[in-house]
Amino acid sequence: MTWAPSLWAGLAVLGFAMVFSVPRRTLPGIVALAIAAHLVRTAVLELGAPLPTASFVAAVLVGLTAALIAPRTNQATPIYAFAPVIPLIPGTYMFEALTGILALTSSNEADSAAIVDTVMVDGSIATLTIVALAVGTISPTLIVGRHLARLVRAGPSEAQ
């Protein structure tokens, strides 16, 4: 697996984290989480999973980590949960679907069937991936977030 491209995910997340006004001290953690999420998605893709599934797995990792780190560092959970999944957005599929729709306006009848196929496939992958990212990130923070926060506050001895 090539890990170098995942470093770009760390840079991609930086601007969004700053737009979200996250506290300065949380930036390194957010960047590390974005890189880890991208690496996980790449690894799951290499195992043969489709993009929405791989993105879901990476998003669940982000959501779980955020639910664990946020109470420990006394930060709001969205700080660690929201920005790191932004670099996983399937921009190329969204772009291909859009350019396909544009191409339909100038294509002849013979070409249009193939273009519709491309638009449907790319549009479906993009939509499903975005839904997978949103559900994968949010579900852990909603379902286990409170329990994890209680465990973290209680400490290992009380948690048993």
């Binding site: 491209p5 770009w8 995910a9 760390g10 840079l11 991609a12 997340v13 930086l14 601007g15 969004f16 700053m18 737009v19 979200f20 006004s21 996250v22 506290p23 300065r24 006394n74 930060q75 709001a76 969205p78 700080i79 949960a81 929201f82 920005a83 999944v85 932004i86 670099p87 957005i89 921009g91 190329t92 969204m94 772009f95 291909e96 859009l98 350019t99 544009l102 975005i130 949103a134 559900v135 990130t137 949010i138 579900s139 923070t141 909603l142």
Partner: protein, 254 residues
């Protein structure tokens, strides 16, 4: 103001700030009701819509209801953290109403975490990083850096003038995509510019409304969830319009 009146007023202020800072509906309800309880209300019920927060507090047979206008448009996660700590401190250390009011004034007036110029530059960098993730080469990445930076400034300027999201996002997407497409055209990049174009408008992705909309749907706040997702759809559609117009325009350039 009575004790119950203080509990109502301060809980509403907390709710308003959570709403304005990018918290989802469950978080807003949670913070408001915990604050009301910590300030002495026996029972409280918060109601959140996409443009208002309202609350009823009960204590010893008395009840008060009030509401505030608060649209869920802003994003400031630093404020969310400060509010989370304030609610926890009020519960644990029994802060008085005047102490809570002072802390809320400080939170409301707290300085920006990052200067505007650095955020705009970072958004340009993020756009270039997206282009690299999509396989763009150095020249195309440089174009996206410039385009994303300029587009971010356009959106910032138009939002500051209180223009509707459709106008601000379409104009920002057009600016960014036009710089990338025209630059690629004049530099003769050909199809190499496609990954850069795909990345050029991603700084406009409405990540927070999409994730908060999903959170609202999953916590049965269906109306607020649908409003947030509809807002996200308008922003994505607006970015697509700006990108389309820019690409179409560059197609007819000499």
């Amino acid at each position: 103001m009575t004790g119950l009146g203080d509990a109502l007023d301060l809980s509403l202020e907390v709710g308003e700030l959570v709403q304005l800072s990018g918290g989802h509906t469950s978080l807003t309800v949670d913070h408001m009701e915990r604050m009301a309880s910590a300030l002495g209300a026996q029972e409280s019920h918060a109601r959140i819509s996409s443009v208002n927060v309202a609350m009823t507090v009960f204590d010893e047979g008395e009840n008060l209801t009030a509401g505030r206008h608060a649209q869920h448009l802003g994003i400031n996660f630093n404020t969310l953290t400060l509010l989370k700590r304030l609610v926890a401190d009020t519960e644990e250390h029994r802060l008085s109403a005047s102490q809570v009011r002072s802390r809320l004034t400080l939170i409301r007036n707290s300085a920006k975490v990052y200067p505007t110029w650095s955020v705009m530059l970072a958004l340009g960098g993020s756009s270039a990083a997206f282009a690299a993730l999509f396989g763009a080469q150095a020249a195309a990445m440089a174009l996206v850096l410039l385009g994303g930076w300029a587009g971010a400034w356009v959106r910032h300027g138009l939002v500051a003038r209180r223009l509707k999201p459709f106008v601000a996002v379409t104009s920002a997407a057009f600016t960014s995509a036009f710089i990338v497409a025209a630059g690629g055209h004049w530099l003769g990049l050909g199809d190499e510019v496609n990954p850069a174009l795909a990345a050029s408008t991603l700084f406009l992705v409405p990540g927070v409304p999409m994730l908060n909309g999903t959170a609202d749907l999953l916590t049965a706040h269906y109306l607020n969830g649908v409003v947030r997702l509809a807002m996200s759809a308008v922003i994505i559609g607006s970015a697509a319009v700006g990108l389309t117009v820019a690409v179409s325009l560059v197609d007819v350039l000499p």
